[in-house]
Point group: C2
Chain length 312, copies 2
Amino acid sequence: MSAKILDGRALAKSITAKVKEDVASFRKEEGIVPALALVRAGEDPASVSYAKMIKRTCERVGIAFQSHILPTDVSEEEMIDRVRELNADKGVHGIIVQKPMPKSINDAAVVEALEPAKDVDGVHPLNAGRLAQAAFVDRAQDVGPYFVPSAPLAGLEILKHYGINIDGQRAVVVGASPLVGKPMALLLVQHWATVTICELHTNPLYEMTREADILCSATGVAHLITAEMVKPGATVLDFGFAKLGDRWVGDVDFEAVKEVASAITPVPGGIGPMTNVMLMRKVLEAAQRQTRFGIEFAFRITPARAFHQVTV
Amino acid sequence: MSAKILDGRALAKSITAKVKEDVASFRKEEGIVPALALVRAGEDPASVSYAKMIKRTCERVGIAFQSHILPTDVSEEEMIDRVRELNADKGVHGIIVQKPMPKSINDAAVVEALEPAKDVDGVHPLNAGRLAQAAFVDRAQDVGPYFVPSAPLAGLEILKHYGINIDGQRAVVVGASPLVGKPMALLLVQHWATVTICELHTNPLYEMTREADILCSATGVAHLITAEMVKPGATVLDFGFAKLGDRWVGDVDFEAVKEVASAITPVPGGIGPMTNVMLMRKVLEAAQRQTRFGIEFAFRITPARAFHQVTV
């Protein structure tokens, strides 16, 4: 029996329509256009094409998009200055800084220059830390609001939308990157899964993956996950995107695995399109928070203004 | 065959001697006494007795100890003001804020008021986030320095001291608290273990624990881990401390489990004493960084002064 296809493209379309509506209401009520600024040094081709896609997605939902392209020989100070200008700019609500940065630049210094309340990509360690420290979803929260990186947020949204139970399930995350694998694992723990994090030294990998009720793969290794590695009936989320011959494929050998799994995200058309619309939703949320609380209080925990975490 | 006892008390004693020496050299070279300040509201008995123990440990290694006891009806603003005064005080290098705080106080607001460079308990989300984002141990680091909570650091130190291999091993962490379970899991991932995080909804728990080469239990449930739940030959780290009848015991049924495991921390005398000395080591390190770089640069990532993470 073939698995249910977790159609990220269709879901992204319906969420896009909702975000577009919400952006329009926000513009009408507040007279403010939510705006996303993208900062990059140089013209790395993958970064350029990602930026184009983000621009198109912004246009689709009515979010203003600004592109700040600095020369390859920009200094770290100049790049940080640009980020600080955008932090201070009331007309900008979300900022993303693209990697790779030039070798002379310390990526972390630029990332930590971001105002956490505008860090819609969830790359600032303050956002990562609040996620890591957050309580289980049904418990009182003792951390401030935070942004989660878009790809794991997309994975969680797909599970929720399709009514796939997380609570009490075995989840296995293959790949421990700071932007996908680790935050995905933390989100699954937060939702009461028993989570195993695998990485390059996990051997044999199939022993782990075969235990998963929910298998998330985020390695970028084309067709790493074969049918034999998947437990019959599992849900499979594929965060990979890599070239195999002349095709773009995911971490998962989709054609074979869909005969074993009960539900699976295709590549393309799964996590990818959902990732973009999650980013849009966060930009809108950033604009809402900044408008309601002021930038100074949008993400800080203060006696008078404390409020709870971003819904995840 | 009975397991090797991972003698935290003996190891703590030898590390204490080393920290004492290093504190003495630092005092001699810099003319500065490393100082730890403890802030608390009210007289919760467990907090009071913990504070006494920390004071004694400080005295043992030559670290100055200050106690800032505020009344139970202190306001959040006053508590934050005290933290800020200590942040600004050049004579204070480490600050710990005790919980529970009075109900009228938002814990997170106080915690986030801490200067991360003085947050020797590793409770500030910036420290938690840098840990969560840190690369594998043998890879280039793209995060700033950070403090790890003392208990997981103690667990790691014990594994290292006794030459227990982590790389490629299956580790299972029972309990997903922000100060023990989750940072322990992240440290083990960082050292190339394949890590499973279990929590209250993990069922049956024994299926998970029996897979562990390294089993860490951090729940506070007395004798949760019985011999049947442990894989023969496993290493067992017990982070628990709870009353069972009139004895203090750990999460692990020590007498039974030591006949199955190959190595095990006793309670008391395992993780506990190591936790205290790890805290002392971090206070010294905080003093060293603040003296070398100034408080402003002790933990910030700056072009000129960037340096890498706390060795974990």
